[in-house]
Amino acid sequence: MKVSLKWLRDYVDIKLAPEELAERLTMAGLEVKGTQTIGGTWDNVVIGEVIALNPHPNADRLKLATVDLGTGQVTTVCGAPNISLGQRVPFAHIGARLIDPHTGEAIVLKPAKIRGVASEGMVCSEKELGISESHEGILVLPAEAPIGAPLGAYLGDVIFDLDVTPNRPDCLSVIGISREIAALTGEPLRLPPIHYEETEESIDSFASVDIVEPDLCPRYCASLITGIKIAPSPSWLQQRLNSCGMRPINNVVDVTNHVMLEYGQPLHAFDYHKLKGRQIIVRRAGNGETITTIDGTKRALNPDILVIADKEEAVAVAGIMGGLDSEVTDKTDTILLESANFNQATIRRGCSHLQLQNEASIRFDKGLNSELPLLPLKRATQLLLELAGDRAAKGIIDVYPGKSEPKLILLTAREVERLSGLKVNINGILKVLKALGFKCQESNSGSQISVSVPYWRGDIKCSADLVEEVVRIIGYEKIPITRLGSPLPQQKSNLSPSAQQSNLKEKLRNILTGFGFQEILTYSLVSLEKLQKLSPKLELKIPPLKVANPMTREQEYLRTSLRAGLLATLSHNQKFEQAGVRLFEIGKVFLPHHPPVIASEAKQSQEEKELPQEKEMLCAVLSGPRAELSWQADKEPFDFFDAKGVVENLLNQLGLKASFDIGDDETLFQGRGANIIVEDDKVGIVGDVHPRVAQAFELSNTICLIEVDLEKLLTKVTRIKEYQPIPRFPSVTRDIALVIDEQVSYRRVENIIQSFPLVMQITLFDLYRGKQIPDGKKSFAIRIIYQSPSHTLTDEEVDQTQEQMLARLHQELGATLRS
C-alpha cells in the first residue's frame, strides 16, 4: 500500500524524519519497501499568480506571462495551452533543478532567450517537476495556494510504499498506519470528526435491505444522498488519491476511494434510481446467472459467488465489482451508498473464479471485521454532502445479523517474558496495548491483564499474539541475545538408518569427487519426453506423477530416474568441453505406489492417493577422452571398463565387493550393459548408453552410465565388517599365461582359480590376442598370490595346488598354458 506522509500527518504528529519513520515501521513489521520524495529538489520553485498574459512578439503559439511571486513580478515565455489569467502556478527560478520533459533527465534551469525574448525562469508542468508524466500543460495549483510560498512546502510529500502482511488488513488504511505510528512514537491518534445534517425523511422510506445469506454477509449498512451533482473532485482529493496510486474519477467515486484508503473499508455507490423495487437483496448468484460489471465484461456467476441484487437481478458482485447498469453516471442524482462486511473465503473464491482482484477485494480477502462498516459510511456520507450532494436521508440502514463480541485475552508479564525473553513490567505492557487501541483491565491484584481486542485487529487471537504486539512496539532490537540453555535432546545413533543414509551420501560424494567427478543437481521436475527418451522404444516403465498446474512442459513430471537430468546436462555442456566429462548426481526419484495409467488418471479415486516413494539414487556418466588434452595424457575415450572400474573402486572403498552379470536395462546398449551385484543382490547398473538414447539427447560420443540404488546399497554397508588379522606368513607369487577360447568369459577362469583356498589374490595383468595365439583364442596373463593363514607355504604345496588348478582349467574350460 502506498501512503502519503502528508495524509498521515492529518491523524498523528510525526516528528521523525521520513527515513527514521520508515525504519521504525519496518522494524515493527510494517515493511517500507520504497520511499519516494516528491519535491525534494524544488528549492528554487515558488508559487506565483499569473497576472498578465501578452502575445509573444515573434511567435504565435508562445505567450509572455507575468507572474506575481509576492516578492516581485517576473515575465517569462510560456507555450502551455492551458495558461490563463489568475492561475496559481509553480514558477521555477534560474538554477532550479527540474526534469527535461523530452529526455527525462535531471537538468538545472539556465537563463534563456526564446525567440528573442529573455525568459527569467519558467512555469512548470507536472513532468518537469517530477510529479507525473503529464506534460500537456502547466500544473495549475488550487486557488488557495499561497503566493510566494516555496512549492515544496505546499505540494512536497513523501510517499511510503508499504508491504502489508496478510494478517494486517487494518494497515491497508491511512488510519491503521497512523495508529501504528502513534503507538511507536507515543503521539496521540486524531480521528476525523464526523458530523452532518440529515433530512426529515427516513432512509427506510427509500430502500430496504434483505440479507438472504447472513453467514456470507454478517452486516450491510447503507446511506442515501440526494441532489448529487457529479463533477471532478477538488484538487486536494485528487492529490491524495494520486499519492496513493489511485486514479481520480469523479467526486462520488473519489469519495468512496478516499474513505476506503482512510479506513480500509471498501464502499460502493449505486445509482439509486437504477435499483428496481428500491430493494437490496444479498444472496448467492443463481446457476447460469450473469452480470455485466463496470469494466464492461459480461461474467458468468455461480452459487459460490455472493451478489448484491435488486428485486430483479444482480447489481454487483459483492465485495468484488459493481454492475454496469447500476453504476454512478453523469446523470445520477441520488445514490445509495453501501458499506458492508462479507465473508472472507467467499470473496476469495469469487476472485479466483472471476480472475478479478482490486483494491476492494484485496481488503475483504484479508478478512475485515463486521464492526468496521458504520463509521466509514458516515464519513463518506459527510464528504459526499460536502463535495457532491445536497441532502442525506435520515438514518442509516444497518442490517447486522452477524454481530460478534470483542475477544477477551488474559496476559501476564510472566507470559511476555516466557516467550520473548524480554522483561516488561505491567505498566509497559499496558502502555503499548492501549496505544494500539486495546482495552485493558488489570486483575488478580495487578499481575494479570484482561485485554479486549479492538474490532480492527482480527489477527489477535491468543496471548502469543499480544506478546508480539508488546515486543514489536518496544522494539525487537531490545530483545536480549541468549544462547539455547535447554538440555540437548538425546543424540541419535550414528548407526540409525537416517544417519547411515546421510553418511553414505556424504561418503559417496567424497569418493566420486576424488575420482574426478563433478557433482550436479538437476530439477526434480522433468518433461515426459525426456523420461521417454531413456528407452530406445520411448516406453515408460514407471509412469511418473504429473503436476496438475505445471509452469512449463519442461517441468511437468516428477522424475522417476536421474538419468535424464545427467544426459541433458552432458548434452548442454558438450559444446564447451574439450576434455572428458565425469558427472554425478545424488538425489531423489519419485515412484508412485499405484502408478496411474496415464490415460485414465482422472478416474483414480481419492483413497488410492498416497505419497510417492522417494528413493535416493546415484547416477553418474562419463564421456569423451579419459584425460584433458596434455603433453603426456591418455587421449583414448572413456569406455565400459572405466565405468566398471569406478563402480569397483567405489564399492571397494565402502568395503564391498561387486560382481557383475549381463544386464538388460533399456537405456544401455545390448551386450555392453551389466548389473552390479553385491552379495547376490542387484544394486545398480553400469554400461554404455544405447546409441539411440544418446542420439535422442543429441549426444554423439560413447557415454558410460552408472546407476546405484542407495537404499539397496545401504543395506549392504550397514552391516559392520569383521576385522581380518594381517597375514603373519609370507606369500608366494606365481604368474601364469592361459590360452583359451574367445567365448570363455574371464569370470569363469577367475571362479575356478578362486575356488582354491590358498589363493589370496588374483590379478589379470594382460589380455592378448594376435601373433602366437591361434584364431578364436585369447591369452590371459594372470598373477596369483598364494598365502596361508597358518603356515609358511612350501614350493611343493604351491606347485601341487597350481597343477590341480591348471588341470581343472583345462578340463572345464579347455585352457592350456601358453608355451
Binding site: A28, G29, G34, T165, P166, N167, Q344, A345, G367, R418, L419, S420, G421, L422, C462, S463, A464, D465, E468, V471, R472, Y476, E477, I479, P480, I481, T482, R483, L484, G485, S486, P487, L488, P489, K492, E506, R509, L512, G514, G516, F517, Q518, E519, L521, S524, L525, L545, K546, V547, A548, N549, M551, Q555, H572, N573, V581, K588, P612, E628, W631
Partner: protein, 344 residues
C-alpha cells in the same frame, strides 16, 4: 718389495686425485683394488716368501690396502656430495612444462553451502533429518495454520499434484516447514533439529526466483525457549556464515505458523548498507524467516503450549553463496553449466 708397495700407494693416490666421476672411480677401484690389481698380485705372491719377509710385506701391503679403501670411500662421498650440489646438465628438468593433469571433481555449490550450514547447527546440538518433497496439503498448510482460503496461501504459490482436494491433496512442498509437524508428531521435547531439502514454488523464474530451491528448516522445542534464544542462535549462525563484522537485523514479520514472527536480514555486502540494486536500496538483504512456534501448532501435535515453547526458522540456501560470491542469477545453480560449477 716395500719400495714397490710405496710407489704403488703414491701412484694410486695420484690417480685418485684425478678421478672426477663415479665411472672413473669404479675403474680406479678395479685397477688398484680389484682382483687383477698389482696390490692383489703382491698380496698373493706373499705366500711364496720367507716368513720374515712375508710378515713385513704382508703388514705393509694390508696397510696400504686399508688406506686405499678408506681413500676410496672418502672420494666416493666427495663425488656424491658434488653430484647433489651441482647436478649434471643432462639431469636438469624443464620445470615449466605443465604437470600431469588429475581430474578435478567438485561438489555442487549448494551441497558445499548445505554442509557448511548443517555443520554450524550441528555444533549447536541440532540433529540433521530429511523429509519428503511431495507432501500432503495438511502438513504443508493446514497444520501450519494455513487452512483453505487463508489469505496467507498467497505467500506460497503452489505446484499441485492433485488440484483442489482439501487436506488430502498432494503437492510439492512450498517450504521445508511441514517437517516441523512431522518431527513433533514423532518426537517429544526436547527437540532440536534442522531439515535441509528442496522446496518448490509455482513462480515465473528470473534472476532472483527459481521454481526449485533449497531451504534449511530449524526447530527447537522445550520448556523455557524464548525469542531471545532464537535471536542468539541466529546471530551466532550469521556470524559463522557471514563473518564477525556483518550487521544482522532482527525485525517483526508475519508467518502464520509462528508468533511472534521474525525476519532476519544481513547488511548488504555489495553496498555496505548504502543501498543498491542487490538489496532493493534498503541496505538489507533478507536471509530467513523465523519465530516462536505458534501455540496452535504446538497444540495440534499434542505439545502443551502453556508448558512448552519453541522456535522455528526457514533459511534460503542459494542466497548465501549468491551473496558470498556475487552471483547475480539464481538460475545458474540448477542449469548446471560446468563453466559455472567448476568455479566452486
Amino acid at each position: 718389495m716395500l719400495e714397490q708397495l710405496k710407489d704403488l700407494h703414491t701412484q694410486a693416490l695420484d690417480e685418485l686425485n684425478k678421478v672426477n666421476n663415479p665411472r672413473e672411480l669404479e675403474l680406479w677401484r678395479v685397477r688398484h683394488l680389484g682382483k687383477k690389481s698389482s696390490l692383489t698380485k703382491i698380496l698373493r705372491s706373499l705366500a711364496a716368501l720367507p716368513l720374515e719377509e712375508r710378515r713385513k710385506g704382508g703388514a705393509q701391503a694390508n696397510e696400504i690396502k686399508r688406506a686405499l679403501e678408506s681413500s676410496l670411500e672418502e672420494k666416493e662421498k666427495l663425488l656424491q656430495e658434488a653430484l647433489l650440489t651441482s647436478p649434471l646438465e643432462s639431469q636438469r628438468l624443464d620445470i615449466t612444462l605443465p604437470g600431469r593433469p588429475l581430474p578435478a571433481g567438485r561438489l555442487h555449490p549448494t551441497t558445499q553451502i548445505l554442509k557448511e550450514i548443517c555443520d554450524v547447527f550441528k555444533n549447536m546440538g541440532f540433529q540433521v533429518i530429511e523429509g519428503p518433497d511431495v507432501e500432503w496439503d495438511y502438513y504443508n498448510f493446514e497444520a501450519l495454520n494455513i487452512p483453505q482460503h487463508h489469505p496467507a496461501r498467497d505467500m506460497f504459490a503452489t505446484l499441485w499434484i492433485d488440484a483442489g482436494m482439501g487436506e488430502k491433496a498432494r503437492l510439492l512442498r512450498t517450504h521445508t516447514s511441514p517437517m516441523q509437524i512431522r518431527l513433533m508428531e514423532r518426537e517429544r521435547p526436547p527437540i532440536r533439529a534442522i531439515v535441509p531439502g528442496r522446496a518448490y514454488r509455482y513462480e515465473a523464474t528470473d534472476a532472483t526466483h527459481e521454481s526449485m530451491f533449497y531451504q534449511v528448516e530449524g526447530l527447537a522445542v522445550d520448556k523455557g525457549i524464548t525469542l531471545a534464544d532464537l535471536k542468539g542462535t541466529l546471530f551466532d549462525f550469521c556470524r559463522c556464515i557471514f563473518g564477525e563484522e556483518r550487521e544482522v537485523r532482527f525485525r517483526c514479520d508475519y508467518f502464520p505458523f509462528v508468533e511472534p514472527g521474525v525476519e532476519v536480514a544481513i547488511g548488504c555486502s555489495a553496498c555496505d548498507g548504502a543501498g543498491c540494486r542487490l538489496c532493493g536500496y534498503s541496505g538489507w538483504i533478507e536471509i530467513l524467516g523465523a519465530g516462536m512456534v505458534h501455540p496452535d501448532v504446538l497444540a495440534r501435535v499434542d505439545i502443551d503450549p502453556k508448558l512448552y515453547s519453541g522456535f522455528a526458522f526457514g533459511l534460503g540456501v542459494e542466497r548465501i553463496p549468491m551473496l558470498r560470491y556475487g552471483i547475480d542469477d539464481i538460475r545458474l545453480f540448477y542449469s548446471n553449466d560446468l563453466r559455472f560449477l567448476r568455479q566452486f
